[in-house]
Amino acid sequence: MPFGYVSPEQEMRDKADFARKGIARGRSVVVLQYEKGILFVAPNASRALHKISEIYDRIGFAAVGKYNEFEALRLGGIRYADINGYTYDRGDVTARGLANLYAQSLGMVFTESRKPYEVELVVAEVGEAPEDDQIYRLTFDGSVADEHGFVVMGGVADAVAARLKDRFRAGLSLNEALDAALAALTEPGGERPPVSQLEVAVLDRTREHRKFQRLTGPRLERLLGSSAPEETPPQGSEPETSPEGPDTPATAPEGDIDTGSGE
């Protein structure tokens, strides 16, 4: 027996534990269906380094874990989608194809590299009707799950998912869906993350051409204001300022992004 032998079982277990730890360090990302499409919500203090992004006309991407790893996967996914849409037709690019490609890639890295990717992804495609929506969740080892309704990944995912389960139902309006997501992301008794530290986007089936849209600034504030009456400023006050007030320091609980190198 060569020196330093570990059984394959032990090696896989160790890799899985390592990846899970990395993913749990960041904060959760929530993906849920609402009446007109799919909503993505992520607490993220960075304006430029995204956890949520557009892949193609009807396909969105959300990730937690190590930034450089999921960014490489995102860029690869965009290439896959663009080359297929250009070779065939825009309608021939599907989330299922993309999820399969990610599964292959993640599975290969997990078994063949010394270090697995510390990432978890969601690939979501908005359809013509809610029942045509597709949400695929991919884990670090290349497993794929076909989800319905909502997905929570990263951070204390189980607790957030449990809170979201209480509030989620099919056909929520955008306001209600956003409210449910934020309530789920907030620990009981805790304060909701301010607008400046939220990354929110939708795949809106009613939009033309490209369905992906980021919700930022005043529009997001209006949505939040109408969804959370207890935080709405009194009538006649300036709606431009965040409900938390400008004096709240911009604290990023987990840093700008999950670097995975916190320990």
Binding site: A48, H50, S53, E54, I55, A72, L73, L75, G76, I78, R79, Y80, D82, I83, G85, Y86, T87, L101, Q104, S105, M108, H209, R210
Partner: protein
């Protein structure tokens, strides 16, 4: 597909396709002999700016020599939310170029999380036309016209190209294609700086009508089949293709004027 993830490379989709599947790029196949007269050609495109935006319009005729190969061809393409391009010349290469350019802009936008500047977009198109030069030399000439809304200036901008690239920024209006000499004369007389979008649509439709009047390769409005020119308007709200009913209303108005006066509106003498 491994290299999709491991080598994240440049932001250019064209460069990526060139290394990954070069056969998919236009301009990489060598045409056998002169292909000029045998494949369909797209003809006249006009563009003109208005206060806060730009209008682009194209006729619908494609010709191969003296043969009209298509009566309802679309030669104006939306390239992203705030830009469009029209093509004149070899139709097949032009359509392929427009499709590739559209993905090129979108690819950059998705990767970088920002859109290219208007001049950046114009330069990018110039590079792609330069890539088509060998085919242009064999008769597969394609010349685009590019129009975009510039957010920083709150104004429309127009760029024209030759087969070697370009870009040449045009003030106020431009026309390309075999009917462009006639369209340009018409634009010169009817164009007013700072006019409304509605008025500029009328100006561009008149220019196309005048081009069709004198150029056999440019199609006029087809009233019996109800095929109207394609008109695109870009302003701060983004790209919008005018619906057929709206273009029809404009064209019928224009035809009413031409019934009484076949040469259309005239500019004041002094």
């Amino acid at each position: 597909m491994g290299n999709l993830f491991l080598d994240t490379g440049s932001t250019s989709f064209t460069e990526f396709v060139g290394s990954y599947a070069p056969g998919l790029l236009p301009g990489r196949l060598q045409a056998a002999g002169a292909a000029g007269e045998t494949i369909p050609h797209a003809t006249t495109i006009v563009a003109a700016t208005f206060a806060g935006g730009v209008v682009m319009a194209g006729d619908r005729r494609a010709t191969a020599g003296n043969y009209i190969s298509q009566k309802d061809m679309e030669k104006v393409f939306r390239t992203d939310d705030y830009s469009c391009m029209g093509i004149a010349g070899a139709a097949s290469t032009g359509i392929e170029l427009a499709r590739l350019y559209c993905v090129e802009l979108e690819h950059y936008e998705k990767r970088e999380g920002r859109t290219l500047s208007v001049v950046g977009k114009a330069n990018r198109l110039a590079t792609m036309i330069r890539g088509n030069l060998p085919m242009a030399m064999q008769g597969l000439v394609v010349v685009p016209l590019f129009a975009a809304y510039d957010e920083e200036r709150d104004a429309g901008r127009i760029f024209s190209y030759d087969v070697g690239g370009g870009p040449y920024e045009q003030t106020n209006y431009a026309a390309i294609g075999s009917g462009s000499i006639f369209a340009r004369g018409s634009l010169k007389k009817l164009y007013r700086e700072g006019a409304s979008a509605e008025d500029v649509v009328t100006v561009t439709l008149n220019a196309l009508y005048d081009a069709a009047d004198d150029d056999s390769a440019t199609g006029g409005p087809d009233v019996t089949r109800r095929i109207w020119p394609m008109v695109a308007v870009i302003d701060d709200e983004g790209f919008r293709r005018l619906p057929d009913e709206e273009v029809e209303r404009h064209v019928r108005q224009l035809l009413d004027v031409r019934m009484a006066d076949p040469d259309g509106p005239t500019a004041p003498l002094r």
